[in-house]
Symmetry: C2
Subunit: 600 residues, 2 copies
Amino acid sequence: MANPLLSDRHVDFLLYEVLDVERLCALPAFADHGRETFDLFLASARRLGRELLYPSYRDIDAAPPEMRDGRMRVHPKLREIYPQLVALGLTNATRPVAVGGQQLPVTVSALATAYLMAGNLSAYGYVGLTSAAAHLIEVFGDASLKERFMSRMYAGEWTGTMALTEPHAGSSLADVTTRATPTADGHYLVSGSKIFISGGDHDLTDNVVHMTLGRIDGAPAGIKGLSLFAIPNRREGDGLVDNDVRVAGVIHKIGWRGLPSLILSFGERGDCRGWLVGEPNRGIAQMFQMMNEARIMVGMNAIATASVAYHESLAYAAGRAQGRPPSSRAQGAQVPIIEHADVRRMLLRQKAIVEGGLALLATTSLHADLAGHASETAVRRRSQLLLDLLTPVAKTFPAESGFESNALALQIHGGYGYSSEYLPEAWLRDQKLNTLHEGTSGIQGLDLLGRKVVAAGGEALAIFAEEVNGAIARARAAGVVAAACDQLASALAITLETTATLAARGLAGDVDGMLLHSTDYLTLFSLVAVGWQWILQAAVAAEALAAGCGPRDFYDGIACAAQYFLATDVPRVAALAALCTGGAGGAADDSYARMKPEWF
Amino acid sequence: MANPLLSDRHVDFLLYEVLDVERLCALPAFADHGRETFDLFLASARRLGRELLYPSYRDIDAAPPEMRDGRMRVHPKLREIYPQLVALGLTNATRPVAVGGQQLPVTVSALATAYLMAGNLSAYGYVGLTSAAAHLIEVFGDASLKERFMSRMYAGEWTGTMALTEPHAGSSLADVTTRATPTADGHYLVSGSKIFISGGDHDLTDNVVHMTLGRIDGAPAGIKGLSLFAIPNRREGDGLVDNDVRVAGVIHKIGWRGLPSLILSFGERGDCRGWLVGEPNRGIAQMFQMMNEARIMVGMNAIATASVAYHESLAYAAGRAQGRPPSSRAQGAQVPIIEHADVRRMLLRQKAIVEGGLALLATTSLHADLAGHASETAVRRRSQLLLDLLTPVAKTFPAESGFESNALALQIHGGYGYSSEYLPEAWLRDQKLNTLHEGTSGIQGLDLLGRKVVAAGGEALAIFAEEVNGAIARARAAGVVAAACDQLASALAITLETTATLAARGLAGDVDGMLLHSTDYLTLFSLVAVGWQWILQAAVAAEALAAGCGPRDFYDGIACAAQYFLATDVPRVAALAALCTGGAGGAADDSYARMKPEWF
């Protein structure tokens, strides 16, 4: 059987049984939608992912883009794929009908695009980046910019990028030095160098528009002096003419090899025009709209990449005969390796990561929909707080645990997994980027602990606790085994206590002490968040089983994966909390706080 | 500064301060040695690793071996490297003077070769495999085989391999089908197919000798019917003539790219001669000598690969300026990223894995020396039990944690780490093989729990506990912080209790139940074993500081890494034990025991 990329049954379960996305159709924004339009969009994405993207994945991986005559040439198969992704409406699926979009809920769109990411995440990257870039212009640009750039980007005629990083300024955007000098004609003359620009040039479309952070002459230092510009590779003149954006170098990435990552040089001849998007010196706040969308997209990339590998290893384990169980020393035929407990452990661990992570991303997306479109202000505000809180978690758990999951998929393939005759090694390479781009895992930890869990005086965290407690109560009522419910309840209590202790440290002026274990805190929080998703899924499965709904196998598998995650991962919370705070009356481990460079 | 590959100061600390290898020179086997000869050997290995292997690593990685005219052609730089490795005496450094060796302690040889592995592990692979293969013939072969094969292999004229795996028989050696038919001339005619044969053909020497498991016609089924054969690619006739061993395929490995991994076909023309080594049907027992040596070698490969990446990321972190600490929002110059707490965490975690793992391998090697050469039978027996017990741990902790460590080295390099312009991605690829070859991590867990910890009626485990308790007592006496000592003592107690509970389950007939969590058990045991190494190193460092020995920095770093590992990793033992046994009166988590294939 061909690789399904994701489990359709699980995706449908999330959409229609766990989250009940059909209720969104009661909101004015989604009034034209219903399960039929959702399923149609899903079916198209599934078909494209399975029939077009997955089959061409290895060829595209094996022959990355090359520069010829100053222009990037991408794999010819992308020229077949890209128009079909555009035709599916992916550049603006969730945007309003008024700008040509389908006004689909983010939740539906996100789960549908997961199939495309799983099929070939760098092929999807072109439309994903274009969509997010055009969305920035839609929200912050004036009518002329929308006409000039947004409409062509949503139409797929031009693509978009985000151009933040410079060789000396990656995580530290405060140090961006790209300069923009105003002209009398309304545009700016831009000069500077950007690095790691994904899709910065290619031969799929006539033009690429870079959403670029730069500093207007005389602007303040630091992040408060950054403005957002749209800078096309080619500008309109006598047809499209060169806009003095040069590909100064190609990064030889170890994955995502369908999508070029470039060093771009703006304005070497003094003739690179950029158009200010929105107000001057508001670039960071504006860009964060794109960054937050991108972070959730990265989380989905990560889960999709773990998912395709999980399904590949599941099929391999069912088909590969090797050895016999320890209790059976008889010389019968060898058994499929899925019969070995440790192989089943590796498969169930992947399932727990993939389907737990996907549930978290689906829930996060649902709150994006509610934050944008719920009728009551209070609901919108509540969902926005939750969305902001969950974003660093929905980015990092998939990236970090996804890497572990991809390594397990390779491991199940044994020695064959170590060869490029099999695909798991390629997905493992792809996955590693997700802990790095759109903010490293370390940056996400600082965001979560330093900003998100203490937001609105702790309100965001209280809402999160409410959600988790609600899921636990539902699970108890549905008859989910008490030990699992207790485990999560205890982990949540520890999380709240740990957060209070750390926040108090910060308020007392010890910011470095508060944030010392922010990565451990992010891990701890992620385990509770994914534990929440598993107890919720277990509750829904138990309810369905009690109601005698459909075949049991799927629900039994959900219950088993929930049991696994709650027994294996959630109990780590106590030890992580002790690291962060030192436990009752203790002190946090200070080993790397006091470690000096010369001691290494 | 050039990458040191390993820390010389730490290697010297292990050899001369922690393990006091000079005391081995009191044994007759090592009477001709002393610190001077040890240091000479170490200095040569360090020089070769740094000046010859490391500088050519990337070129060799980038251009893997190719088949031309039916013969494998390896990278030309290997033709410079190989003779120098042979000249250093690496094929038989630890073997007796009587067979041309240097009769060095394994401990010294292992730490010296770690530099060569760190410099280029596939280049070292040729001599490592040859040494282990020739050692098999030295121990089990007769005089004629020794003259024909062993002497040429030890001299580096021919190389050796281990040829166990067949396409349908990897972990399950019982299913090996390679056939051997006796002839009147003393040799056997062999036919069969082997896969993943590292170094199975190349153009560095005239010949390759495969230590091959096969089944003599009429032998019993299963592992008890396997015999060991020496099968050369070319045999002596009119000069060296073809021995009907054909390269049937090349595996495109994702790492170790200097060393070909081949599919070999024996006897397609019915003319492949093999020579029986030792007794018929004793192949598995004999091969395990090589397997056990190879497992420790894999552990060392893993630590070496983690170490070179650790040092690369340490230098990068000291040199790369980016951002400012959270407590300092001033717009001063950017700081080196080693100033960020989370980067220091990633560096200290690598140090804890690399130097903790290296200490474990050094200790394991010391017991190999004592098992072979101590004067008293009781000491030899004690060390042999400990060596056997530690082998799966010394293989797996480095492989599994080394992969995490290598990923951290890449992560510290940020986006640059994701490109093949920097080296960490290559070492990450190299590292992944170590959880697979010479027995997967799953196999090692079964070996540890199903065989090693219950060996000799629990005597091996009791000896291990004695060693750990001894180290804790020494640490307490030296003033190592009590919390760290208590943490390890508690983890050891949990380990002993968990083992007793599981062993009782096995004795009661529930073998599958006993072994269900063997991978978790291996992780648990590894944490205690490496915790032991850290408390021991912390004790020695504290003693040295109290005695006012030398500069403080190194010892302070050892104390800090010990603190980190004992606070961060060792506390996981409690949760792992609960998984394995269910804790007091409970039941082990049975999620993947009851998970059915159709539930996935």
